[in-house]
Symmetry: D2
Subunit: 336 residues, 4 copies
């Protein structure tokens, strides 16, 4: 079987990463790509790394044409705009992995408060599969739409859930201090992401107001059944890729070994989540779909440290993993 | 007046920064430099940036020769080794700014537990001036030895003290998540600080065990009279310089504005500590002795963010500032 | 004496560097700043590093108001736009250091061919002082307008001139392969200078068509009287600052030592140009107005290597040096 | 078929890259690894990115044990040491891809002059297959030992050969100005490759004396039959990976289009060499085995620009490509 894949919104970094991963996927390939601004150009005009390697032409978006050339569409549009496009793709019978936040949360109210837009398709909120096969493989298998997780939430939910679920840490006292590479900020030219603004510098941003905070809270609740209070602070770090989340927790009485065991039990059969003894660096997982996490004692607190690649497991790798599950391929195809 | 300055241990990054700062100091200049490994070479052989600009030759250490050419010595030796050298310099009548941790703490026991060496001069523990003129200017003015602060502690003590002293935050619930540039790890060749190990990567290290944790706890207590519980996590960040500390606090009932006011009152007359409204980036203070800090609400927590340059305010700039105070110069000479 | 300095076009990186250098200048200070887009804001709103350190407000451009508050204006506008503004400043009796290319070249035709605009003030072409005090100090001393040199030309002209003038190299066979930090590309948001486009990457650009090629050719001719053929290739390098030029030459029979001697004679009394034995790295001169150059044999070619900081000696440091000469200050004031 | 691969000298960056590439190779896998210093450790102890993904243990070198577990050995030892090890591996019947320079050159004299050691196996000089399948596929197919090319030579030989062979450029006037990422300098801790020495800096090194100069000269001659004079200057660039070579040539009368056509004819069937219209950046080929090259006019010179990843096509990717050819696999297996 060979899955034909389309990308809607092909100019950004997550799309570039999809192209890279599909290039080496044994049973899927890129057959269509759209972009409002770059239609009519070959794909290597926007991603020069594909020169000599892909002859896909960028087109304007047309759901029927996509239906003719694809089984599944990776929708890389911003929130708000995405939901409407996803609906059109579903209507023509395509399956979709949606990179936006439009279908991630359980509550229309929470979505509208944090994203400050009217949701265009509220019936799908709370019933759409969340694209984390470590917890939702069955939902994903049969889904027409999969909500691809946010990058920061991936680095927080994976370590948090087993500890919260097992009652090993106090759910009311959780801090996630995250450091992300600059690619997470997108490819639109902005002063804040110019080389000379971010190089040789680290800064916190969106303190107390980042939209991934409610996503972490919602998904931990959805998976573990426990309500958590979480303080989340993202930082812009001078590197292309990677997220490191340093998570401060209050243990309820168990040992670090209990925590490590809870993780190992949960992720024993997961091909990508690795419980390690060393302190993970983002470089250890760079360009891969792997996750490394460890747990340490610091006085009367626990500190969980989790490293992912924000473009791979934090976005496009997860999307390929979801696609593999949706189409009954090996979960690791194109990702090892 | 022109203060003649010697540097003991001239090969590292803090020494290079001292050379840079002294080069533009209006009333002090470098007159001697020593190094065990590089004696006999001109200083530009170890710091090529000084080519054509300094004719100081590196010598082996001899306190009497230093006495003949200097009024003050910057001692850039590692802990343990430093105390003995400082004693010899004092004995010949020199004044010293000591970059090591040997005289920073109040307790011999705490020192010996964390640094795992017998202290060579315990009488001086707890009675040596801590080189933070924002709090100890009088002590520094008359000191023969000044203990130059650690880089991480500077970025934590300055924001913490006014809030703790004013009772605005719970002293038992303090987390300092710090991100440092690689120069903080020194100039000795080590695998961990090779370009290709640290570039494009961020990682936590020394989780729960870094020696700057007791320094933060000790100094906050010494200045504010309050005992704090502090969790401290340092991170190695892919940049040469800079420390950003993100500090998680529990407010006791006051407003963010109360916190900002406590800072402004404390640092009103300080030429280097700036309370700002924006979220500071390390780049904003790079290469300077300035400190930028701000305070934000995030749910029921406060988040203080403080940026310094680890080599300047976190080491050699503070040392120059201390020297200025010791010799009655303008506190900002060579630093603006 | 205290020179009052204005900056026209204050939002870019060269202006930020001017602010940094003026902050420590003993006999000059910033008294006015203008910007079309940011008028009405304090200067720290566009350059957060100045927070707490400058109370200059950004205004719209008005030559009479500048005249009231300044003796000299640093004009940081793009070519074409700059000449007209410079004329207005001269008309009200101000002296100007112009950062654009508008007055650098000797020929209106060459200017119009390479810059593709009608020159707004052609009478001044060829008679304006070129701001390289190493060669034009007398012109600069009495100038109303000084054309501040291009960054790449500075790194090429300084090593080339003494060798060409002495007849030590073939003027018809000169290659300048230059590598620049990203700040040279300016602070306007563009895809090409986003962090994730330039980080971890090096590329040539404007091959065979960069406007600094005729500037190198023109100035070498103006100073040495010799016509040269020069191939110039700039490269965008993943670093904030610095230019390294690797220059390939054909010796005419002399030795490397002859070349080094020609340099030393020329720059003996120059406070900033250093002939060194080691291979200079851009880091050796980072943040300084210094120039390091060396000469090596490679088969039957000579290779000159020259390092400068593109924002300091390549732009704002040279401008301060020019201002110092214009106003009879020490040439090194604010620059050591 | 599944090729079992061993690595001798597994601690460096080229070995890490081999591990990464073998991890996704469909018909080869890593079965043995040796290292003098790290024997007895699991491979993830030296390459933490492999945590949870490989259970290979590092052993001391033993040719018989390697013979039992491998068909082919990647020998990642330094020159001089390598030849003797390769001989032992051949003696037990293994095939070898040798990463050192020991078998690359045609002349024992040239080798001994540039590498300053007695060659331990001179009979093999000049008769060993040079591992560039674009020119030597037949030799490689049947070889017991393949000399894996140097990183810089790969970036120079591929663009030079077709132009030299076609007589389109003057063979006596060739300059190769190359810029390499820091991984090319190896993983042994050295001052020169510390983060804070190389970050934010570019410098030339080994000017006129780099050992890849005779390799370029030798191979261009071996392939094209023409003797060239080449000036080669390498530069250390602040990035992990990548080589960009800017090559200055004198055309003999043809057009740029003639040059591009000569390239396209040569590399028409090559899966990795891409003749492109844009100016290639190293990022376009980062982490891949691809080569991008273009040709431009600059006055009366031609400038060829070629980008490769120094660890992939410049080392370990080429080694996998060679292995694929040696064992009759698809040339692109594991590399797309």
């Amino acid at each position: 079987m060979n899955v034909r894949v389309g990308i809607v919104g092909v100019t950004g970094y997550t799309a570039a990463e999809l192209v890279r991963l599909l290039d080496r996927h044994p049973s899927a390939n890129l057959t269509a790509a759209t972009s409002r601004g770059d239609a009519g150009k070959p794909i290597h005009a926007v991603h020069p790394s594909t020169a000599g390697r892909s002859d896909v032409m960028i087109e304007t978006f047309d759901p029927d044409k996509m239906k003719a050339s694809c089984e599944v569409v990776m929708c890389c549009l911003p929130h708000g705009a995405s939901a409407e496009t996803v609906r059109q793709l579903i209507d023509v019978g395509l399956r979709v992995v949606d990179f936006s936040a439009d279908f991630r949360l359980s509550s229309v109210e929470v979505y509208q408060k944090w994203y400050d837009v009217q949701h265009p398709w509220p019936e799908r909120i709370g019933v759409t599969a969340y694209g984390m096969p470590e917890f939702f493989a069955d939902d994903i298998r049969s889904a027409d739409v999969v909500a691809n997780p946010g990058c920061y939430p991936t680095s927080a939910i994976l370590p948090l859930v087993p500890l919260i679920k097992a009652g090993l840490v106090d759910p009311s006292d959780v801090i996630v201090d995250s450091k992300s590479g600059v690619s997470g900020a997108g490819r639109s030219p902005k002063l804040a992401t110019l080389y000379c603004e971010t190089n040789e510098s680290i800064a916190a941003y969106a303190v107390g107001s980042h939209r991934h905070q409610p996503e972490i809270k919602d998904l931990v609740h959805r998976i573990s059944g426990k309500d958590i209070e979480v303080t989340f602070t993202p930082h812009l770090t001078p590197m292309d890729r990677g997220i490191l989340s340093t998570i401060y927790l209050r243990p309820t009485g168990g040992s670090i070994d209990d925590g490590m065991q809870a993780w190992k039990q949960q992720y024993d059969s997961s091909p990508f989540v690795h419980v390690v003894d060393h302190l993970p660096a983002t470089k250890h997982v760079s360009g891969t779909n792997h996750v490394q996490m460890t747990l340490r004692q610091a006085g009367d607190r626990w500190i969980a440290v989790c490293a992912i690649d924000n473009l791979t497991k934090g976005a496009s790798g997860a999307a390929i993993q979801n696609m593999n599950v949706m189409f009954g391929l090996n979960e690791t195809d194109g990702l090892l």
